[in-house]
């Protein structure tokens, strides 16, 4: 996806300190706003990171006992899920952009649908897998022995978890690769074809090298999701670093060590982003001239079309059709039984939709304005602001929630007369979403502005428009597509969000995610399927709208 591809286009170069200080001494209002906004958005994270240097009372014990296991599990999941997601994402993206076969148009949009499925919901559906494997395990125990039985259990469970997470997260890679192939692949692919390369050779000699930056960018997002996942790994009994944070904090009451773990997770993600940048090297997306001419898709013969069809169907089936099919089945069983959940989710639904929708719009507008402010004058200060403001995406939701509580609890305690009390209000949740997800619309706005180029904005400025007027008149209308896409993606993410919402919500506040969580806590799977299905449905609609705005090439077919 574009926003990730440009994650760090703003490369800081060691410019002369003199210019830096001159800018500092004469800050214009935009620079000031960018700086102040970055500070505000980073405060909750700072409140957490401050603990990084301190070792809590349990730190030594953690390093000695559980930390190695958390690290191993995290590494196994990161590698396994990334491989699965790459396998599921790259080939279908290639197939739907440069080939033609029955079902291609359907797959082109349907393949992003697994993003609508929260991993904790997918987990409780897929946990049926280990349960279904019990007869096989019993057979192993009676015929092979107890050690083989114990090993087989672990292999099945880890395997299923990796397959499931890969199948839910591959769309990040699929979207990035699809964009890469359709935007700049045309000339190269057609040249390769003219020179007589067979389709397989084109894939390995042109597509894979071409998609490398997209693959890396998509994989970076997948890895961040894996590292930050709490629900699914807990369900499958595979404790990772993130679970370690909760265990240390809640079980041992050592908040300092827990937050230090969180700091390590964030550092790991930051390193990942640097590696991503290095791996991407100098590769940049430059839209080739004349790219508005669509690529001529190669029609596949019957046998190959069937293979292509299966290659696209498989990830979709594992990541969406099967889990959603089970959710539909369970919901139906629940709603038709006399002891079904009463349909009290109407309020959760509308409340969740309003909250997610409003927040998504506001955050996207702020991000666009922020990206515009940074682009106005790209000095090192603003570039670092740009990077810092996206830090929340690398932070576990529960940790941000605590940071937000610390900041606003402190503010409330100052008892400033004109300021309302923030504790326990919906504002805190909205602000926490802003901190957590700001990176998404920021990167998408930035990518959109980069593609737009500076000339239009400069013309407007030369003709005497103020920056803000330029933003309203030029950037905002022209960026409508990417911004709406960002808002929709944000909307889906907020709809799915759980840990942060749980901790910060005001009284009597249920969203679909929290309703589903309560029912899952009572282990009422069929009942839990009802709100879960609603999340998926709302998310799927959002994603399809996003897909339309994200790929104009697809929408005017």
């Amino acid at each position: 996806m574009e926003y990730a591809e440009t994650t760090s286009t703003a490369r800081s170069s060691p410019r002369s300190g003199i210019r830096f200080w001159r800018k500092l001494k004469s800050p214009d209002s935009w620079g000031l706003s960018v700086g102040v906004f970055t500070t505000v958005i980073c405060l909750p994270i700072l409140a957490v990171l401050i603990h990084l240097t301190k070792a809590g009372p349990e730190w030594g014990h953690l390093v000695e006992t559980v930390l190695p296991r958390y690290l191993t599990n995290t590494a196994v999941l990161v590698v396994g899920v990334t491989v699965v997601a790459l396998l599921m994402g790259v080939l279908p993206a290639w197939l739907v952009t440069v080939h033609d076969f029955p079902g291609r148009r359907l797959f082109s949009w349907a393949l992003i649908l697994p993003l609508a499925l929260p991993s904790y919901v997918a987990a409780f559906v897929f946990y049926q897998g280990p349960e279904a494997a019990i007869p096989f395990l019993i057979w192993v125990r009676t015929n092979v022995g107890i050690d083989a039985f114990l090993k087989a259990e672990i292999v099945i469970r880890y395997g299923l978890l990796i397959l499931m997470m890969g199948a839910v997260l591959y769309p990040y890679i699929y979207l990035a690769c699809r964009a890469a192939f359709s935007q700049q692949g045309r000339t190269l692919i057609e040249s390769a074809r003219c020179l007589g390369d067979r389709p397989g050779a084109v894939f390995f000699r042109v597509a894979i090298p071409l998609a490398r930056p997209a693959m890396v960018a998509g994989a970076a997002l997948v890895i961040m999701e894996v590292i930050n996942d709490y629900g699914a790994v807990h369900f499958f009994g595979v404790p990772t670093l993130t679970e370690g944070i909760f265990r240390t904090w809640f079980g041992m009451g050592d908040k300092v060590s827990a937050l230090r773990l969180a700091g390590i997770v964030m550092l790991a993600v930051a390193m990942l982003l640097i590696v991503e940048q290095l791996l991407r090297g100098r590769a940049r997306y430059v839209e080739a001239e004349g790219s508005s001419i669509p690529l001529v898709r190669k029609r596949l013969n019957r046998g190959k079309a069937a293979t292509a069809f299966l290659c696209c169907l498989l990830p979709l089936a594992i990541g969406f059709l099967y889990p959603v099919g089970r959710l539909v089945q369970w919901s139906w069983l629940n709603l038709t039984s006399d002891r079904g959940v009463s349909l009290t989710f109407g309020e959760s639904l509308s409340r969740g939709l309003i909250l997610a929708g409003t927040t998504a719009l506001v955050v996207t507008l702020l991000a666009a304005l922020f990206a515009f402010g940074v682009r106005l004058r790209e000095n090192p200060l603003r570039k670092s602001c740009f990077r810092l403001s996206g830090l929340g995406y690398a932070t576990p939701g529960a940790v941000i929630a605590v940071g937000v509580l610390v900041v606003f609890g402190g503010l409330d305690r100052l008892e400033i007369s004109w300021m309302p009390l923030f504790s326990g209000t919906i504002f805190l949740i909205g602000f926490a979403y802003l901190v957590r997800f700001f990176a998404i619309p920021l990167q998408l706005s930035r990518a959109g502005m980069d593609r737009l180029g500076p000339s239009l904005g400069e013309a407007s400025r030369l003709l005497g428009r103020a920056p803000f007027a330029t933003f309203l008149r030029i950037d905002l209308p022209l960026l409508k597509g990417p911004l709406l896409a960002a808002a929709m993606l944000l909307f889906v993410d907020i709809l799915k969000e759980l840990p942060l919402t749980l901790i910060l919500r005001p009284a009597n506040f249920e969203t679909l995610a929290t309703s589903a969580f309560s029912l899952a806590k009572e282990a009422r799977l069929q009942a839990c399927a009802v709100p879960s299905l609603m999340i998926v449905a709302a998310g799927a609609v959002g994603l399809l709208i996003m897909n339309r705005w994200l790929s104009p090439a697809n929408s005017h077919e």
Binding site: E58, L62, T65, V66, R69, Y127, P130, E131, I134, P135, I138, F149, L150, E153, I154, R157, H234, F235, F236, G237, P239, R247, W249, F250, G251, M252, G253, K255, L333, N334, S337, R339, I354, T358, A401, V402, L405, V406, F408, G409, D412, R413, S423, G424, L502, I503, R505, P506, A507, N508, F509, T514, F517, S518, K521, E522, A523, R524, Q526, A527
Partner: protein
């Protein structure tokens, strides 16, 4: 956009209008749908509206700490004694004063200084496969470490507070060293690494993956009356055994409640607690959540009577909080995930 904003404004105005009625705010760890029924009854009979925030006990404790005296919370409720003890040690609770509340609850089920009282309780018991285990083979929690159970036990993760509380009682009874050895031996006897909820453990025993599980009593009740036939079949395939009856007794834990320090509605909050402890409400817990009532006047449910009376470990619940971190450390060393 304007439409959503105006909806929010109307929503806010509606909240303002509500502020005139008698209201208390409850931070609770309990996720039971039945608690909402109790709150509706409270509104109907006493005219008190309960505003609810649900999250895990320690998340709520963190929130109370950061909100300080500006917290909207009046009441704090957990599904585990250790959580209440931690809240009290953090200075977040104030003593309950109403004699009507204090005198109703047996001494073992409340804080010595009345910072909190139990509302319900339950036992953590051994669940066995009726096909493959005879009850005579069972005796104590300690016996679960015996090598004869190799590959035959399922039990959930040690990050779960029920297991942490159980572990504190094993430390209290046998000392740290033996408790650590016990955890390591039980871990070796597991049929699979810890995963899932108590309900999943019972299902695994019913499906034949393991022969023994450790679970809270009310899970058996929930399975027996589940809307899903597979759950009811699972409940029928297992038996329920109260361990350590010859010795200190079975480990009992509570759901309990306390008044948040600095609450301006302490009297109202205590009225809510008194309501939760009233005979009528207490009698409804066994029938719906299958927890035991703490009010001695309230009768047990049919299945609780069938499970039978049992001797409870008298270790004070405040011990659970004190030894909790030690319990987690021992679990970590034992490799019990």
């Amino acid at each position: 956009m304007i439409k959503t904003l105006s909806t929010l404004l109307i929503f806010g105005a509606a909240l303002q209008a509500f502020a005139e009625t008698k209201e208390v705010t409850l931070y609770t760890q309990r996720h039971y749908a039945f608690d909402e029924t109790v709150h509706e009854k409270l509104l109907k009979e006493k005219g008190i509206k309960v505003n609810v925030v649900k999250a895990s006990a320690d998340e709520l404790i963190a929130r109370l700490e950061e909100e300080g005296e500006n917290t909207p919370a009046d009441l704090f409720m957990t599904a585990d004694g250790a959580g209440l003890d931690r809240a009290q040690k953090a200075g977040l609770l104030q003593p309950i004063t109403s004699p009507a509340v204090i005198d109703l609850v047996p001494a073992t089920l409340k804080d010595p200084e009345n910072h909190w009282v139990a509302v319900t309780n339950r036992a953590r018991v051994i669940i066995y496969s009726k096909d493959r285990v005879k009850p005579e083979e069972l005796s104590t929690y300690e016996d679960l470490a015996d090598p004869k159970w190799r590959g035959r036990i399922v039990i959930r993760s040690s990050s779960n507070s029920y297991n942490q509380s159980l572990m504190t009682t094993i430390i209290a009874a046998n000392g740290e060293e033996k408790a650590g050895g016990w955890a390591a031996a039980v871990r070796k006897n597991m049929a699979r690494p810890p995963q899932g909820s108590d309900r999943d453990q019972i299902r695994a025993v019913a499906a034949g993956l393991a022969d023994l599980a450790v679970a809270n009593t009310y899970y058996v009740g929930l399975l027996e009356t589940s809307e899903e036939p597979a759950d009811r079949e699972a409940a029928a395939a297992v038996g329920l055994y109260f361990p350590n009856q010859e010795g200190r007794g079975t480990h009992v834990n509570i759901s309990g409640i306390g008044v948040v320090k600095g609450s301006e509605k302490a009297a109202l909050a205590e009225e809510v607690i008194a309501f939760l402890l009233s005979e009528e409400v207490q009698a409804s817990y066994p029938e719906n959540t299958f927890e035991y009532p703490v009010n001695p006047a309230a009768p047990w449910s049919e299945n609780q009577e069938r499970w039978g009376k049992f001797k409870a470990d008298p270790v004070p619940l405040s011990t659970l909080g004190e030894l909790n971190a030690e319990a987690v450390r021992l679990f970590n060393r034992a490799g019990w995930e």
